[in-house]
């Protein structure tokens, strides 16, 4: 008896997804408010390094980091969503179920709505440090909420944890809305601008932290393939197979939240991608095995994020669309299509 014959199909799908990600990456570098030809992109990468042309600067300092950010953020959110869906055995779980994005938004709200009006000098004039402060506030807020939820993770079962994260999100959201209630319209505007999300704020100087967090999170998640497969059948089942259930649970939740928190810190809260990408991959690869789904989600998430940013930049038009709106507009039809074709998403979870 052989293993299921679907592996050749998987190889083909991986090749297609990989090619798609590369093509979208190139498209993201070429297309934007001004179109850059492939030849110019080639020149920027491999041409004379003493060339100080604007084109080269745009490609290397703006387009490339933005495209890489989209790629990394998409991968991170997709894998984080997959980990959450498996740990909670719930198709509706997303990277933010434990409340990391509400924690991040509280951090940012405190910076933009409380600190900034109080000490305007702090952010005024220094554009970069202002942004960095937002990043630190968002990451810090996410970390605090995460620490609270994970401190319960040893003691309660996963369903309680899910509800705990939800309640914490509501409570933190309430604090944010009180802050907004007492804030000036222009401050609220800048908070909103953050909440739309963008891949354009990660400069090369931030990439070291951003990239390290996400790449190490993604690599570490690959080590969870085997226990996650067992966890999908229930924690008791996993335990009987020799899985250290509590350790895997904490590790997976921590990894997912680290990745989701990093993305939220640097790019703002980007919804939908984290739910949609794992479902899309399950639908494409027709399996729930994590040694297929984790790499597939890395690629699928990257592809969706790159495609969404391409649409958000609205090449050929003036102006741009909020990224969050685009991910939902791209993602919702995908989920609906998968749902209709597959009849029943619960089938993947029981």
């Amino acid at each position: 008896m052989t293993q299921p014959a679907s592996s050749s199909r998987s190889v083909l799908l991986f090749a297609l997804l990989g090619a798609g990600v590369l093509a979208l990456l190139l498209a993201n570098i070429c297309l934007g408010s001004a179109t850059i030809s492939l030849a110019d992109v080639w020149g920027a990468f491999f041409g004379d390094s003493s060339d100080e042309s604007v084109m080269r600067q745009i490609v290397l300092d703006f387009r490339l980091p933005r495209a890489l950010t989209a790629l990394l953020a998409g991968s991170a959110l997709a894998v984080a969503g997959l980990l959450m869906q498996t740990i909670f055995r719930n198709p509706l779980a997303d990277p933010f179920v434990l409340g990391v994005n509400s924690g991040a938004s509280l951090g940012v709200a405190i910076v933009l709505l409380v600190l900034a009006p109080a000490g305007v000098t702090l952010t005024q004039g220094l554009e970069l440090s202002g942004h960095l402060l937002t990043v630190i506030a968002a990451t810090g807020g996410a970390a605090v909420v995460l620490a609270i939820v994970l401190s319960f993770a040893q003691r309660v079962d996963v369903m309680s944890l899910l509800i705990l994260g939800l309640m914490l999100s509501y409570a933190v959201g309430a604090v944010v809305s009180i802050l907004m209630f007492y804030s000036m319209a222009e401050r609220i505007q800048s908070f909103f601008a953050w909440s739309y999300g963008t891949f354009g704020n990660v400069a090369w100087s931030h990439m070291r932290v951003f990239g390290t967090c996400i790449v190490s999170g993604a690599v570490a998640s690959l080590f969870l393939c085997k226990p996650l497969d067992a966890m999908l059948m229930g924690e008791r089942f996993a335990e009987s197979l020799g899985t250290n259930v509590k350790a895997v649970r904490i590790f997976a939740l921590g990894l997912a939240s680290l990745m989701a928190g990093t993305v939220t810190g640097f790019c703002g809260p980007i919804g939908f991608l984290g739910i949609a990408a794992p479902h899309l991959c399950r639908y494409l690869f027709k399996t729930a095995q994590h040694r297929v789904l984790i790499p597939a989600s890395l690629l699928g998430g990257a592809a969706i994020a790159l495609a969404a940013d391409l649409v958000a930049k609205a090449p050929g038009f003036d102006g741009a669309l909020p990224l969050n709106a685009v991910t939902a507009l791209v993602g919702a039809p995908v989920i609906i299509a998968a749902l209709i074709r597959q009849r029943n998403l619960r089938k993947a979870f029981g």
Binding site: M1, P4, C225, M233, F237, E239, A288, R291, F349, G350
Partner: protein, 335 residues
Amino acid sequence: MSVKPLQTESLRVGYKIKGQEPRTVASGLDLELVPGEFVCLLGPNGVGKSTLIRSLSGMQAALGGSIHISGTDVSSMSPKEKARSVSVVLTDSLPVGMFDGYSVVALGRHPHTSWTGGLGAEDKERISWVLEAVGAGHLAHRQISELSDGERQKIMIARALAQETQIMLLDEPTAFLDLPRRVELMRTLRDLARREGLCILLSTHDLDLALRSADKLWLLASDGTLKTGMPEQLALEGEIAATFASGEVDWDPEQGAFRMHRNACAKVYVGGTGAERVWTCRALSRIGYEVVDNEEESKLSIQVIENCWRVSFEGENFECRSLSELVERLLGSNV
């Protein structure tokens, strides 16, 4: 003395609920499992069969006493060590998700594979073997979500066998199966136990089947005591009757089964032979008659002669052409 695969000493099992006294479901258990033996755990509903199985597998901490697996205290074993010595099939873990049968069975190899879960030649060989052993070869390439409950149960048992442990504990694995499948499964497990030298403990509600297939019975009574022994011995000694004692049913030692308890309304003598007489007696006792052996004892007498039931009651006689006609007439006449 050789080391037993599984041995307990004055084991006490039960639940711990926060802020409450631990609830003991069974205590003073000195049990052992011997290689090649197929043991059935029987007991009334809610008596704690599942708790005992979970405790023996080391998944739930015992309240007292000790459990040794091949000489090692279970509480000092790592999850992986436990998974290499004991496999468990639990009631609440029917597989779900987008897995095919093969992948689910392959999960059973987890304690033996590296962190990637990649299957070596030995693993693949074992998987093929267990799929054939439980008669689930044809389910390997089908999605789990498309299988019936019974087929899924087979896959789960194959999964446990794939784990290649000497001890296998199953909590009511026959619950979803129809009778022929149940008989088949019990026979498969018993044969595996003998052939491979496994210790298999299976909890079930199916008394009749357990009596016929188990090498040994563990009877867990409502008072938390456990009796062990050969099925036939326990039946003869009246232990089975005592374990399941209830006002509603009577143990019939000659049939080896429980019968609905009825206050017989009248006695009846049934004459005749063969299957027709057997089924006539069953129909009569179902509607409340007590079948007696001596014609003198009862006023009602029924002679079964090839497709004809001759009834005589206090000098009155009539004939029926079928068993259902007989039952209808008797119910209608209130004799």
